[in-house]
């Protein structure tokens, strides 16, 4: 009856097919066919996902787990190609396919004039495939496949303009930094396997990791309930991977550089979907985290710190995409903060809304860049509002959403995050304060971006730059996303007047009952107050931005002058890249050059090889003299051989009287 | 004494036979030279030797005396052992080969001892014969090499190449006969031809094996280094070939060896293809048994008549004597039928051999010498293939006929 649920694998398969077809044959085809294939595959998989979700609901939201075939089976370790679907997966799949589909549409317009059209879409579809595998996977092994796959696609797409050195460098940087995280992730997996003897989440006989973690029926249960036991280590390792993928401190450095890729890529991969994989993993493994306070705290603190840190950097950036990148980092920090305080619902909620409005922001920024003919520096823009109205409107909505202005989506999600953070004991208030301040900064730099870009007088030569509205293929997705970023948060609407929060209710089977189920009423009042505070904060940020960039346009420079060192520090992103370069890269280079190359490789490996060769040569040099070319010596050798053979035949104990057998 | 004789009777008889054969053969050789010279002379309308003795009949003796008495210089720088060995080898081998030839069907009975007209009755007679002829090469080759002089060397090279080449053809050409006889034994070969005794001459191997015979005849002439294949001693180009450096009796050895091998080969040819001692007439014609006397008596009478009117007194005395002896032998054969019966085989055999010897001389008087390359190409490209073809044909026919005997 449940066709789509039985054939879940079709959802990732379709993008893979599209990727394959485009990658293999697209080179010869015109853009129309390529885009048809790409859009067709993605759209179909979106529809199929919808159908699957419908059946999921029809089934009464039972956890769907399908085993298709044994992928790895080595000794005691078996990892099947298993897909599962629960509420969390539903959210992720819909976000990925939906937003992905929209961005595909957008890309057809945006990439129309770029080279390597088929290549771009092949990569993009491949990314969809891996991302879907990641979210559908029913065990860590398969999840890791998707995990690495999206990393690969991100590398390929960041370096899409591989002729630009900065692009390829950025790609390498992303790849390498992610490796560090993935290393942790793998260690985490190994530890989990060693502990539980399996990697699958749930199994019918309740032998999956999560089942066991809940029931506690697993080997070595005694030694792992401590704060620094198996769970803590495993969770921290997984979180290390998450920080790599989701650009948290200290591994966030690759994301801003990732902006070298085409804007749709930034929107899809580095804003909406891939970077949220870390959050997804943490949420998916919440059962494990639940067992380790330490890990939770670490997650929360890191998330909070990242949020503030990135926001401060975002204050002074002038490259429009860089600003968005840092805001992405900071928003991801919010999500981790939510996960850290145990408000997984809020985290996923924010993940979803963020997917909407951040994708929208990037796409709109892309539209702006498109309009400006490739110009990314906000200081060279301004006054675009009148010329590209649709873009302006959608961008404004997105900004309102991210700033957390009621009734846009961001308000609800961020509000619930802050609320749960405030309720978190102990130390919740501190985190809340930081989060609130970050919200202020967020709304400030976002409106700064909007004002610099769309209002005021044009700061560019209008004769050379011909500003024009983007084609519909780009504008329509913008509008859809704008609508989503308006209504995307309304699942939680009723919660304001004490009604149910449908979203959290929906995710409840996965994450269990939300905290502070106790004092409902008090919590409700508190929530109202906090919401107000958050709204006011956002408005303050808006006001500051207005004051600085509309009424007193000269003020920013004076400010920059007055607090030069802070400004410089922020402008240079706290010199983190330089720091890493000095601490990690340079020593590593030195090590590989002077030790691994000059000593190990040249001395050790080449030495061994050449040594063998020279040894052979010297041996041959000595043995060579046996081959004097003098037949008589050869004859003597032959005689010796004959002697040996006859002696063996004669005197070998088993062979007996070989000669005397004649009768 | 007598006991000793009785004890080793066979040995003694064999020795006597050897001595007898040697004497006969050497004498025949001697008179063969006389015969050759006479025939060639008459072919060239000359007298030939006629000073020494009547009709030059003592010429061979004179020659032999000369050979014995002449000085025998050994050239400088010869390889002595080989130089002395070579003629000995040649002579010994050629004389040995005679030992295998059977001269008659029945064996003589003296003092109750059975005496075959054959020294060694081997059941691989033919093979042995070929083995000996094969070794015959060395005499020539070594002689040529050891005399340390260029003409002999060239002669030796030529003769060794030639003999090896033609030996192949010689051997192949008799295989047909062997197939028909199914044995190497010369007596058996003759008996096989006797199977059709009533056909007389038409029962001989000559007819079925005519190809083989032609090949054999040619190869035989070449094997004996006779004209037209006498390149090893081609006077015009190599002085005297391999025996240039040999003088007096060593030279005589080569000489005798050559004539002996002529006799051997003739005998062989007779036995192989001309029915050996079989008479050319059907056995049923018993009156043909008187043919020996019928030939001998008139011949003797003619000799007497010729001797009487000879120039010299010596001749007028000697020749009639010989004639009367011959005639007497013929008469005796008529008187003693047993002797007549016994003589039949040897008579025909010797008659045929004599015929072939005449053919040899005849060839010498007629044909020019081959050129060396002609010789080789003839031997390899014509003679050998033909003889092989003969073997194949014979084998095929025998196969069709079913198993022999």
């Amino acid at each position: 009856m449940a066709f789509a649920l039985d054939y879940l694998w079709i959802i990732p398969l379709l993008p893979l097919l599209g990727s394959g077809i485009n990658g293999l044959f697209g080179k010869k085809w015109p853009n129309s066919i390529v885009s048809f294939v790409a859009l067709g595959s993605t759209g179909l998989s979106f529809l199929f996902a919808l159908e699957a979700v419908r059946e999921f609901f029809a089934n009464g939201q039972q956890l769907v787990h399908r085993h298709y075939f044994n992928w790895i089976s080595a000794g005691s370790f078996t990892a099947g190609f298993d897909l599962q679907m629960d509420q969390l997966t539903v959210v992720m799949v819909l976000v990925v396919t939906g937003v992905g589909f929209l961005i595909h549409i957008y890309s057809t317009g945006y990439m129309a004039h770029e080279g390597g059209y088929y290549r771009f879409f092949s990569y993009l579809n491949l990314f969809m495939f891996f991302m879907l595998i990641l979210v559908l996977a029913a065990n860590y092994a398969l999840l890791f496949v998707g995990w690495e796959g999206v990393g690969l696609c991100s590398y390929l797409l960041i370096g899409f303009y591989f002729l630009r050195k900065s692009a390829s460098d950025a790609g390498n940087k992303a790849f390498i930094v992610n490796r560090i995280g993935d290393f942790g992730f793998m260690l985490g997996m190994f530890l989990l396997f060693r502990t539980f003897g399996t990697l699958s989440f749930h199994t019918t006989d309740l032998k999956g990791i999560f089942d066991l973690a809940v029931s506690g029926q697993w080997a070595g249960v005694h030694e792992s309930w401590g704060q620094f036991g198996t769970f803590t280590i495993a969770c921290l390792l997984l979180f290390m991977g998450a920080t790599g993928k989701s650009a948290q401190l200290p591994l966030y450095v690759w994301l801003p550089d990732a902006m070298e890729g085409p804007t749709p890529v930034s929107a899809l991969i580095h804003a909406a979907t891939m970077v949220t994989a870390g959050v997804y993993v943490v949420a998916r493994s919440h059962v494990l985290f639940a067992h380790s306070e330490t890990a939770m705290v670490v997650v929360a603190v890191v998330g909070c710190a990242t949020a503030l840190f990135a926001a401060t950097i975002g204050l002074v950036q002038t490259d429009i995409k860089k600003v968005l990148a840092y805001s992405t980092v900071s928003q991801l920090g919010y999500m981790f903060l939510a996960c850290g305080v145990g408000a997984y619902t809020a985290g996923i909620f924010h993940l979803m809304t963020h997917a909407f409005f951040k994708a929208l922001l990037f796409l709109a920024a892309g539209s702006v860049i498109h309009a400006m003919g490739g110009e990314q520096d906000m200081l060279k823009m301004g006054g675009l509002g009148g010329k590209i109205k649709k873009t302006y409107a959608t961008m404004l909505m997105a900004t309102l959403a991210i700033a957390g202005i009621w009734p846009f989506a961001g308000f609800f999600s961020k509000d619930s995050i802050l609320f749960h953070t405030f309720q978190k004991e102990p130390g919740g208030q501190i985190l809340y304060g930081v989060g609130l301040f970050t919200a202020l900064l967020t709304s400030f730099y976002m409106f700064r971006l909007v004002f610099l870009t769309f209002t005021g007088k044009p700061r560019f030569d209008e004769h050379h730059v011909h500003v024009h509205e983007s084609p519909n293929s780009m504008v329509v997705p913008l509008m859809i996303l704008a609508l989503l970023s308006l209504v995307g948060g309304w699942f939680a609407f009723p919660a304001l007047w004490g009604g149910p929060d449908y979203f959290s209710a929906f995710l409840q089977p996965v994450f269990g009952a939300p905290e502070a189920a106790g004092a409902e009423a008090a919590a409700h009042n508190m929530e109202l107050i906090l919401s107000g505070v958050a709204l006011v904060t956002a408005l303050i940020g808006l006001a500051i931005a207005w004051w600085l960039y509309i009424s007193r346009p000269d003020k920013p420079k004076q400010l920059a002058q007055s607090m030069q060192p802070a400004y410089k520090t922020l402008l240079n992103k706290y010199y983190v890249d330089e720091l890493y370069d000095a601490v990690v890269v340079k020593p590593l280079m030195w090590l590989s050059t002077n030790v691994f190359w000059k000593i190990v490789d040249v001395g050790g490996i080449d030495g061994t090889v050449n040594g063998i060769a020279s040894g052979a040569r010297s041996i041959g040099d000595t043995v060579r003299h046996a081959q004097s070319g003098n037949t008589r010596s050869y004859a003597v050798w032959v005689v010796i051989g004959a002697l040996i053979i006859i002696a063996v035949v004669l005197f070998w104990p088993s062979s007996g009287p070989a000669v005397g057998m004649v009768r | 004494m007598t006991s000793f004789l009785q004890a080793n009777a066979t040995l003694i008889i064999t020795l006597i036979k050897i001595a007898l054969i040697l004497f006969i053969v050497l004498t025949v050789n001697a008179y063969l030279t006389w015969f050759e010279r006479k025939v060639v002379a008459h072919m060239q309308s000359r007298w030939g030797p006629h000073r020494v003795g009547p009709h030059g009949l003592l010429q061979p003796a004179a020659d032999g005396l000369k050979f014995l008495l002449k000085e025998d210089p050994t050239p400088a720088g010869v390889d002595r052992p080989t130089y002395f060995l070579a003629p000995l080898m040649a002579l010994a081998l050629s004389l040995t080969s005679i030992a295998i030839i059977p001269f008659g069907p029945q064996s003589l009975h003296v003092f109750g001892y059975e005496i075959k007209l054959q020294i060694a009755d081997l059941n691989i007679g033919l093979l042995a014969l070929f083995a000996i002829t094969a070794l015959g090469v060395y005499g020539v080759a070594l002689a040529g090499w050891s005399s340390n002089s260029k003409y002999p060397l060239l002669g030796g090279l030529r003769s060794s190449a030639q003999m090896v080449s033609y030996e192949l053809a010689l051997t192949m050409s008799v295989v047909g006969v062997l197939l028909m006889a199914g044995s190497f034994d010369l007596r058996k070969i003759i008996d096989q031809q006797a199977a059709h005794a009533q056909w007389g001459i038409f029962g001989w191997n000559l007819w079925p094996q005519v190809l083989g015979f032609v090949c054999f005849a040619i190869a035989a002439v070449a094997e004996t280094n006779r004209v037209p294949f006498d390149l090893p001693e081609a006077e015009s180009e190599l002085v005297a070939g391999f025996h240039t450096e040999y003088a007096s009796f060593k030279f005589a050895m080569f000489f005798i060896a050559e004539y002996t091998s002529m006799i051997t080969v003739s005998a062989l040819c007779t036995i192989m293809f001309f029915g050996g001692w079989l008479s050319p007439f059907p056995v049923s014609w018993t009156f043909t048994h008187y043919l020996p006397s019928v030939i001998l008596i008139p011949f003797g009478l003619w000799v007497i008549w010729d001797g009487i009117r000879y120039e010299t007194i010596w001749g007028r005395i000697v020749l009639p004597g010989i004639g009367t002896v011959i005639a007497a032998i013929g008469a005796a054969l008529i008187v003693f039928p047993a002797a007549n019966e016994f003589i039949q085989g040897p008579f025909w055999l010797l008659g045929k051999i004599l015929f072939f010897l005449f053919v040899y001389v005849w060839l010498r008087g007629t044909l020019p010498r081959f050129r060396y390359d002609q010789l080789m190409s003839f031997g390899w490209k014509l003679l050998l293939p033909v003889s092989i073809a003969n073997v194949i044909i014979t084998a095929f026919i025998l196969l069709l006929r079913g198993p022999a005997k």
Binding site: S628, G629, N630, T631, R632, A635, V636, V639, V662, R663 | -
Partner: protein, 100 residues
């Protein structure tokens, strides 16, 4: 009648002499001859065995050996002639290079 061991011993001695000749002669042709000598010794052993076992196959083997020896002599002597032509020497110790 002669014990077979005598024949075998004789063939062994001849074989050994052949080996000695093979090792100690310098002339290529002579070395060839020594090979032939060894072959002959083996033939003798063959015939002796066949006679001892009252079977004929040993003699057949001898025939084969003789054929092979003939072929070997034909080719080998051809090579010898070429060598002598090209090196002006029959001494194996002077002919110790593959190239001229």
């Amino acid at each position: 009648m002669v014990p077979t061991n005598y024949y075998l011993l004789l063939s062994a001695i001849l074989f050994g002499l052949g080996v000695i000749a093979f090792v100690f002669k310098r002339n290529i042709i002579t070395i060839f001859m020594s090979i032939e000598l060894m072959l002959n010794a083996v033939n003798l052993a063959f015939v002796a065995f066949s006679q001892a076992r009252g079977q004929t196959d040993g003699q057949v083997f001898v025939l084969f050996v003789i054929v092979v020896a003939a072929a070997e002599a034909a080719v080998g002597l051809g090579i010898v002639i070429l060598t002598a032509r090209n090196r002006q020497s029959l001494n194996v110790e002077k002919v110790d290079l593959l190239k001229l």
